[in-house]
């Protein structure tokens, strides 16, 4: 069973992402919800985590800072991180990919969009 951490300060967004994951075949995954990057980082470090889905714009610790912390942590270095953002465009996407994001998805999330983004992860 895969362990997936979802970081978003909106309960609506987390619910929506969970529903999309369920539809594309991750219904049996263990989903850990976090309201900000700090909580997500703690959750990812607590137990081996297969995937981190993170919003960009969050209080306390934003998604970009979270991504930098993950890539700087030997324990989390190889964990795939997908950034889900409402403030994305090609320039921002390039920045985040260079920081080590697996994919960058623009909101609103839909099952096909998430499936496409997670296809490299699923193939593994």
């Amino acid at each position: 069973m895969k362990r997936i951490v979802i970081a978003d300060d909106s309960a609506t967004a987390r619910m929506f992402i969970k529903r999309c994951l369920d539809i594309i075949g991750f219904g049996d995954a263990e989903i850990i919800e976090a309201e900000n990057g700090k909580e997500a980082l703690a959750a990812a470090k607590a137990e081996p985590t297969d995937l981190l889905l993170s919003d960009l714009n969050m209080p306390v610790m934003d998604g970009e800072t979270l991504l930098k912390w993950v890539r700087a942590s030997p324990k989390l270095l190889d964990m795939p991180v997908v950034i889900i953002t409402s403030a994305g465009n090609p320039a921002k996407e390039q920045e985040l990919l260079q920081l080590g994001a697996l994919k960058v998805i623009n909101k609103p999330v839909s099952p096909p969009l998430l499936l496409e983004a997670l296809s490299p992860f699923i193939d593994d």
Binding site: S10, T12, A13, A87, G88, A91, K107, P108
Partner: protein
Amino acid sequence: MPPKDTPTDKAMLDAVCQTFETMAFAQVTEQSAELELEVGNESIWSSILVHDPVQGEIQMALPQALLTKIAADMFGIEQEEVNESQLQDIIAEILNTLAGLFMTSLLPDDQTYKLGLPEHGTGPLPEIETESIVWKLQIEGLALLLVAVGSGFRV
């Protein structure tokens, strides 16, 4: 009054329609000139600041009854079970999403921008004293109001 169907109008209407259709399975249409719907006092609003390169604010207001129905549909619960916290969270997330689509559509691909964290409240939208663009829309016969506050949104 500025002409309708400008790139700004198209960007906003596309953003609103895509957001509501994807998140809430709700169809948004423009209000007809003959029947002007009001959001009313039993309403809920959210606003979000836009930072560089455009300084401004995007606001959205709609009747609580409409948002309650949307929330119930999204969470798969009865309308009576929807609480205030869920309403505030949903309107903030909807506005956050459509504001991002709107700005992405308005700005060149190589131009990054930042959105603030959404704020929300109940009752009529706060008074606007600066230049703004207003879009009067509807969902299932109930009013949906979008406002872009600031001079930088008109392209």
